[in-house]
Amino acid sequence: MLIGHQQPDFLLAVEGLTVSFDGFKAVNDLSFYVEENEIRVIIGPNGAGKTTVLDLICGKTKATAGAIHFRGKDLTKMKENQIVQAGVGRKFQTPSIYEDLTVFENLEISYPQGRSVFGALSFQRTPAVRERVEEVAEAIFLKDKLGMSADLLSHGQKQWLEIGMLLIQDPDLLMLDEPVAGMSVSERIKTAELLHTIIKDRSVLVIEHDMKFVEDIAHKVTVLHQGQILSEGTMETVKNDPKVIEVYLGH
C-alpha cells in the first residue's frame, strides 16, 4: 500500500481534499504540498474556499473526503486540540482572543505547557514562563499593556495579541487568515515587520489579499477558484497565468 505515503520532505500534504456543505463543494478534490520552512500564500476571489481550507487543516471543519498529512499524522482523524499539540497554529480572520483575561493571561494560556486538566491545575508561573511571555509581548508591541484587560485593546492590538498567542505556541506550521485586514496603514507596516520575524524557521500558510504583501513574502502562491486549484507556482508565474488574470487579478 503506497497510497497515503508521501515524500518525507513535505511538512504538509493535502491530498484529494473535498468538503461538501449540503451538496455544495466548497473545496473540491484539492491537493497541494507544503515543504519545511516554506511560505505559501493562498489567494483567490471571494468564495474560492480559502478559509475553508484552513478550517479543514486545523480541524474546525471535517472533510468529506481526502487526507491531510502533517508529519505523517492524518489530521482529518484528529481533534482540534490534538492538531494544535501536533504543531499547527491558526490565526483567525477576526481577532479571536480572550477578552475577559489580561494580555499576560492570554499569552500564558497559549504557552505550550500544562494542557491537560491536572497539568493546568499544577501549572506554575515560573520565571521561564514569565520571561517568554514578556519576550513575546515585546515582539508584538504590547509590553507595556501586559496587565491590561484584553477587551480594552484596539482592533490592531488585538490582532497583534492573537499573533503573539500563536508565536508563544511555537507551531511548526503557522496558518494566518488575512493578518493585516482591518488595520491602519501604520499598523500594517508594523504587522508586516512582525510577520517577517515570526515566519522564520517554520512553514507558513497565509491567506492574503494585499498583493504587495504577498509578493513580498511568498515563496510559492496557490490560486484557488471555486474550491479548486487554478494555478500554482511563484508569484511571477501565477501573475502571468492567463487563467488567473481572467478570474482574479484582472478585476
Partner: protein, 382 residues
C-alpha cells in the same frame, strides 16, 4: 507581572470575615435551634460554591445539582439508617435488622447496593465517588458531543426529575416520598441532642472552609483562567490546544462533589433525607442562591445561600403563601438589576465607598493604589 497568589489579600480578608461570622458571631448570638437552621442553610453553600466554579467561571449551567446533593445525602442517610436499624431497635418488625421502610414494603433482606453502607469508610468514599462518577458519565456523554448551554441545562433538569421519580417509585429500596427518616447515631454517637448539633455545625463549617480553599485554589490556577476563557470563547480554547470537554467534565465533577458533601452534611444536621431535596425545584433554588450571592464570587455563594434561606424561613414563617413570589421576584431582580449579585453590589458600591473613606483619612498617592488595586485585581476574575 505578579503571579496570582493562591490566597490574595482580598481572599484572606474574605476568609477572616466569614470565619468571624460563622465561628464567632453566629454561634454566640443564636440558640441551638437557630444555629441548626444556619447549618442547614450552609449545606446549600457547598452547592452554590460548586455552581460558582462550574456556572460562574466555566459557563456550564446545571439545573440538576439537587441530584448530587441528594446522592451525597442519601449515601450518608443509608449509613445512618443501617446503624439505626439494629436487630434490637427493630425487633417489632416482621424482619428485624433491616430498615423500617423495607419491612413495610415486604422486603426481607438488605439489597446489594445497601451493603457497602455498613462501613463508615466506604460511606465516606461513596459520598465523594458516587456523585463524581455520575457527573463524569453525564459530562462525558454531553461535553464530548459538544452539547452545552441551554441544552445541557435542560438535560440536567430532566435528570433531576428522573432521579426524583426513581426514588419515589422504588419505595422499598429508598424510603419513597418520605425519604430516609429516623436517623439516630453515627458510630454510636447520638446526632440528635443539642450538643451534637453544635458539634455538627462546627464540623460543617470546617468542611465548608476546606471546600472554599479548594475552590480558591482552582480559581487562581491556570485551570481557573481556562474556565473563564472557555466561558467566553469555547472554540478558541480548542485552538490553544486544550480539550474543552475534559475541562468542563472536571468543573462539573468538582461541583458535583461539593454538592454531595453539602448533601451529606444536610443529612447529619437535619436528621433525614428525602426526594424533596433532589428534584427540579430545589435544583433551581440552588442556582438562585448562587445568582443572588454573585455567580462569580466564591464568598458570595456562601452569603447568597445564607441570606436567601434566611429570607425563606422568615418569610414562610409569617407569610407562607408569599415566599414563592418573593423568590421569583428576587431572581428577576438579580437577573435584571444586579447580574453579579451581592458580590457585585459589594464591589461596585460598598467597596468604592470604603476606598473613599480610607482615602480621605490618608490623602496623597494612596488614591490610585486604593481604588485601582482591587478593581484591576477583580476585573478579569469577576
Amino acid at each position: 507581572m505578579e503571579s496570582p497568589r493562591f490566597l490574595s489579600r482580598t481572599d484572606l480578608l474574605g476568609l477572616a470575615v466569614l470565619a468571624l461570622l460563622l465561628v464567632v458571631i453566629l454561634p454566640l448570638s443564636l440558640d441551638v435551634f437557630r444555629l441548626n437552621l444556619v447549618a442547614k442553610y450552609l449545606t446549600y453553600a457547598f452547592v452554590a460554591l460548586g455552581l460558582v466554579l462550574c456556572w460562574g467561571f466555566g459557563g456550564i449551567l446545571s439545573l440538576g445539582q439537587g441530584v448530587f446533593f441528594g446522592l451525597g445525602g442519601y449515601c450518608m442517610a443509608m449509613y445512618l439508617k443501617l446503624e439505626a436499624s439494629s436487630v434490637e431497635n427493630t425487633k417489632i418488625q416482621s424482619t428485624p435488622g433491616i430498615p423500617d421502610f423495607m419491612d413495610w414494603n415486604q422486603i426481607t433482606h438488605i439489597p446489594w447496593f445497601w451493603q457497602p453502607f455498613h462501613s463508615l469508610t466506604l460511606t465516606v468514599i461513596a459520598i465523594l465517588v458516587v456523585p463524581a462518577v455520575f457527573a463524569f458519565l453525564i459530562g462525558a456523554a454531553m461535553f464530548k458531543r459538544r452539547v452545552g448551554g441551554v441544552y445541557f441545562a435542560i438535560i440536567t433538569q430532566a435528570i433531576a426529575a428522573i432521579m426524583t421519580i426513581l426514588i419515589i417509585g422504588q419505595q422499598g429500596y429508598t424510603g419513597g416520598i418520605n425519604g430516609i427518616t429516623d436517623l439516630r447515631t453515627l458510630k454510636g454517637w447520638d446526632i440528635r441532642p443539642d450538643h451534637a448539633k453544635v458539634v455538627l455545625y462546627f464540623v460543617e463549617v470546617a468542611f465548608l472552609f476546606g471546600c472554599i480553599l479548594l475552590a480558591l485554589f482552582v480559581r487562581h490556577s491556570k485551570l481557573g483562567r481556562i474556565l473563564v476563557a472557555m466561558r467566553e470563547k469555547e472554540d478558541r480554547v480548542r485552538f490553544s490546544g486544550y480539550s474543552v470537554a475534559n475541562f468542563k467534565i472536571f468543573a462539573f465533577c468538582l461541583a458535583a462533589m461539593f454538592a454531595a458533601v453539602g448533601g451529606a452534611m444536610f443529612t447529619l444536621n437535619v436528621g433525614f433525607m428525602s426526594p424533596s431535596f433532589v428534584g427540579i425545584v430545589p435544583s433551581i433554588e440552588m442556582v438562585i442562591y448562587t445568582a443572588v450571592g454573585g455567580r462569580l464570587s466564591i464568598f458570595g455563594a456562601v452569603y447568597g445561600a445564607l441570606l436567601v434561606n434566611f429570607a425563606k424561613t422568615s418569610l414562610s414563617e409569617s407569610f407562607p403563601q408569599l415566599w414563592l413570589f418573593g423568590l421569583g421576584a428576587l431572581f428577576i431582580a438579580v437577573v435584571l438589576i444586579f447580574p453579579n449579585g451581592l458580590a457585585g453590589i459589594w464591589r461596585d458600591y460598598v467597596q468604592p465607598l470604603f476606598a473613599k473613606l480610607l482615602d480621605r483619612r490618608k490623602p496623597g498617592p494612596g488614591h490610585n493604589g486604593g481604588t485601582l488595586g482591587p478593581v484591576a485585581d477583580g476585573a478579569p476574575a469577576e
